[in-house]
């Protein structure tokens, strides 16, 4: 079962050939998918041979197989992590029951909604990133972008498989709709706001892969705990791929910072205008981008208090991050959690039932994880002997969802007036000028081993290849 059958039109390790109806339905969906990839996938790259990682089995020795492949020939398919024997529902009111191998009737609508929402983010990011190949700062980076793109595409396949296999006609319709919505489309946008934002430049791309793909990590982890076993197994395998996406973000920003501090030290300058004269991105601009992407991503976790989240949890559909590693009763009926709210003109903590604040629990786990990585970026600046430090803004900053929507909160967590916001927003969020400046640096670098001026080379190549390896062959 762990081997992936590549002789099939749709590579899979779920014995697709045994279910002819399903196979036919998916084979019907496939051309639409390929058409979508043609229209909305990486711009102008169809003919490149890219050094891609593909899974040949879902066991450790098989899921990182490297070779040059044309992206449309990438083996998108359906790979589920190996089945755990005797797996149970590990939380909620059904805790202790055998995990479901089929959709429990009463949870059908909720499960479908969860899967569609997750599935919608996958093609969305491909759409958001479709022009970035044209401005890649190196072959190495271009390859990483494409790797992410094909894997997001595969994650879409994973969700579509679940929809087709377990949700009948509704599922098939939802699967079609996943290809019809498009990121940023006025009439038919993607479901979640962050996935309709543009990813116009590589700084935004690295921020997106650091912050927003990390949201993916936490959502997938919570879904990997699901009592619905096929969803759990699907997400567990997706997580192994998601790690690379976050790596691209974390190391990408680290390299941008490295290059900037190198220039700052070399020329003994700190003034951002001076820094820009050398064609690198000043730390202040990096901070503003960080503020933006952090706050937009934090919104993705949903409202602070949500009865849906409580229902998903109690039903055993969506758990917490590392659910089984926590030592509480995993039912949470009598547990409390502290959330933030506005009371009498200031931000205060308030205790509420934990079941209703599971979005907030996941958001806080996410924030802790994000902050740790920002600390690693700061070490680069610290090592260079500079005083500047990057910071994640307060979690109430620039929010559009939840109880802070419609309020103005500064990055350090003060409730501020509209006037104060307006006079400071240019220091807090990227301005048009910032974006124009960053855009002015973007230009494609394709010679193996060469880097754009604004970014340092990576410390190690992919799969231990040298940095100047031919990661992309242009034909």
């Amino acid at each position: 079962m762990s081997k992936i059958d590549y002789s099939e039109k749709i590579p899979n390790n779920v014995n697709l050939a045994e279910d002819k109806t399903l196979q036919r339905a998916l084979e019907h969906w496939q051309p639409n998918y390929l058409q979508w990839w043609q229209d909305m996938g990486p711009d102008g790259s169809t003919n490149f041979d890219v050094y891609l990682r593909t899974a040949i089995s879902v066991t450790p020795d098989g899921w990182a197989h490297f070779g040059h492949v044309k992206m449309p020939d990438y083996r998108w398919g359906i790979f589920l992590a190996q089945q755990e024997e005797d797996r149970k529902v590990n939380f909620g009111e059904n805790k202790g029951m055998a995990a479901w191998q089929d959709v429990p009737g009463e949870h059908r609508a909720n499960l479908r909604r969860i899967i569609v929402t997750q599935g919608d983010t996958e093609p969305a990011s491909v759409e958001q990133q479709r022009h970035l190949g044209l401005t890649a700062p190196s072959q190495y980076d271009m390859r990483n972008l494409f790797q992410i793109n094909v894997e997001e595409g595969r994650h879409l396949w994973a969700m579509v498989y679940l929809l087709h296999k377990y949700f009948g006609r509704d599922g098939r319709e939802e699967a079609e709709a996943l290809l019809q919505r498009n990121s940023g489309n006025q009439d038919n946008p993607r479901i979640l706001e962050a996935f309709n934002e543009e990813t116009p430049d590589w700084l935004a791309f690295y921020m997106f892969t650091y912050f927003t793909d990390r949201d993916g990590k936490f959502q997938l982890n919570a879904l990997a705990e699901s009592g619905f076993d096929p969803l759990s197994r699907t997400c567990r395998f997706m997580l192994t791929e998601e790690a690379h996406h976050m790596f691209v973000g974390e190391s990408g920003i680290a390299r941008v910072i490295q290059r900037t501090v190198d220039i700052m030290k070399q020329h003994r300058i700190e003034d951002p205008n001076e820094v820009r004269k050398h064609g690198v991105i000043d730390l202040q601009t990096i901070q503003r981008y960080l503020n933006f992407h952090f706050s937009v991503t934090v919104d993705l976790f949903g409202a602070d208090q949500s009865s849906n989240a409580a229902t998903f949890y109690s039903a055993g559909l969506k758990g917490r991050y590392e659910e089984t590693k926590r030592d509480d009763d995993h039912v949470l009926k009598s547990h409390q959690y502290k959330i933030l709210e506005i009371s009498n003109g200031s931000i205060v903590e308030k205790e509420v039932p934990m079941l209703n604040s599971l979005n907030e629990v996941l958001r806080d786990d996410y924030i802790r994880d994000s902050i740790a990585g920002v600390g690693r970026w700061n070490r680069i600046i610290e090592k260079a002997g500079l005083n500047f430090r990057l910071q994640t803004p307060h979690k109430a900053f620039n929010r559009h969802i939840g109880s802070f929507a419609g309020h103005r909160v500064s990055p350090d967590g003060r409730l501020v007036s509209e006037a104060e916001w307006a006079s400071n927003v240019r220091d807090w969020l990227p301005t048009e000028e910032d974006r124009a400046y960053v855009a002015s640096l973007m230009g494609r670098v394709i010679e193996p081993g060469k880097m754009a001026n604004w970014i340092a080379p990576p410390p190690v190549g992919i799969n231990r290849q040298p940095i100047d390896f031919e990661y992309v062959r242009f034909n």
Partner: protein, 414 residues
């Protein structure tokens, strides 16, 4: 009586906290749960990790692929690793301690019974000047090292008369530094008819210093199953049959490394002329592969490789397929087959004569000559070299004497 405990070294598996993004993939992947983490770092338990490598390629950052050689007694603890912001500097194999271990063991090694059929012929008593520093006698008959068979398959065609195996030995996290051209001792279990424990047999290492699989702590051997003695009477060789029959996962007792002279030059501009038959190809494969990896890593390798390789027919020539794939600009290959139906018997010396011009040309340069294989090949090869030189106005006797003195002529026959 009071012999000091030999110092054991291990290759400790470490994660670079500066590069790791704490994605948890390795912890999820490791089949023996050797990886753990706290809010700060991901770390590997030295006493649990068996260096299986399963976590290496799934790690998206490469941060997991660090191996430091440390004395086993003072391996970095989990608590210590959890406080790191960066990797400690690599304490390179502490050469002085390894050398100390080697000299402590050398007396033992000398009195241990090794078969006495190694070459006593014309050969350099010194290594090439640029050869890397070899370690010898780290493990002895009395204090051997245990290796695990990571692979064992037949190299020769199923229909071929000679049965030659490619055997991969894995040393896990133990230290076993090896250079191309060195050999190891295999200690067959059991005793001979007279009740004496079997003596140790030597085998040349067929893989380069970076491992059979690059970056792994393993090496390979090319072992021919001995089914008849030198006179042609049928007999079953003790060690070779033992080795060829070992299954994956079995363990073997190993001594060594051995050999301080038959080493490859380390400067990339040197030419290497290799003449071998049968399993004598083992050190040639090691050297060729080392050069190939250098080139693949983008290093400048100017030296020429020239190979003369003899076997009965292509089916009995170990590594024939992979050899054929090496491009002509990288290595100049000459195969001699002595039993091709309908064709005259051809030996390596015949091929040497045919390519005389190129051989002589090569011998005039910064060239190192290696001969390895059956004892019987030596005379013929030396004669051919003499003729080839004469035809080109070179005086072989003087040249070979000079090459011997300069560490440029190495013979190992058995």
């Amino acid at each position: 009586m009071n012999a000091p405990e030999p110092i054991a070294f291990i290759r400790q598996h470490l994660i670079d906290p500066e590069v790791c993004i704490r994605c948890n993939t390795c912890e999820e992947t490791c089949p023996v749960d050797a990886i753990t983490h706290d809010s700060r770092n991901y770390v590997v338990k030295a006493d649990v990790c068996n260096a299986c490598g399963a976590c290496i390629s799934p790690c998206p950052t490469g941060s997991i692929d660090h191996w430091h050689i440390v004395p086993k007694a003072s391996a970095y603890s989990i608590d210590e690793q959890l406080t790191w912001d960066e990797l400690p500097p690599k304490q390179d194999v502490d050469a002085s301690v390894l050398d100390q271990a080697a000299s402590d063991n050398s007396a033992d090694a000398e009195e241990e019974g090794i078969q006495l059929n190694a070459a006593t012929s014309l050969t350099s008593a010194v290594p090439p000047w640029s050869a890397a520093h070899p370690y010898v006698n780290l493990y002895t008959l009395k204090a051997p090292i245990t290796a695990t068979i990571a692979g064992n398959y037949r190299l020769t065609d199923p229909n071929a008369t000679s049965d030659i195996h490619h055997i991969v030995l894995d040393f896990g996290t133990q230290v076993f530094p090896i250079l191309e051209g060195q050999s190891i001792g295999i200690i067959p279990p059991g005793a001979d008819a007279g009740g004496k424990p079997h003596y140790m047999r030597m085998y040349s290492v067929a893989s380069p210093r970076t491992g059979e699989r690059e970056g792994y702590n393993n090496l390979s051997l090319t072992v021919k199953r001995v089914v008849e003695d030198h006179e042609g009477n049928s007999t079953l060789g003790v060690a070779s049959n033992y080795l060829c029959d070992l299954a994956k996962g079995a363990t073997v007792q190993v001594a060594g490394p051995f050999g301080t002279n038959y080493l490859m030059p380390n400067h990339a501009g040197s030419n290497i002329l290799m003449i071998c038959t049968g399993t004598g190809s083992a050190p040639m494969r090691a050297m060729t592969e080392q050069r190939r990896r250098l080139e693949a890593a983008g290093k400048k390798v100017d030296g020429k490789l020239m190979l003369f390789f003899g076997a009965r027919n292509p089916e009995e020539l170990p590594y024939f397929g992979p050899l054929l794939k090496l491009p002509a600009h990288f290595i100049d290959k000459h195969f001699a087959f002595s039993r091709l139906p309908g064709e005259p018997k051809t030996y390596v010396q015949d091929k040497l004569r045919q390519a005389g011009k190129e051989v002589a040309e090569l011998l005039k340069g910064d060239t190192y000559l290696y001969i390895c294989g059956l004892k019987g090949m030596e005379t013929g090869v030396m004669d051919a070299l003499r003729e080839v030189c004469m035809a080109d106005g070179l005086e072989w006797t003087a040249l070979s004497a000079r090459m011997v003195n300069e560490g440029r002529l190495h013979v190992e026959t058995y």
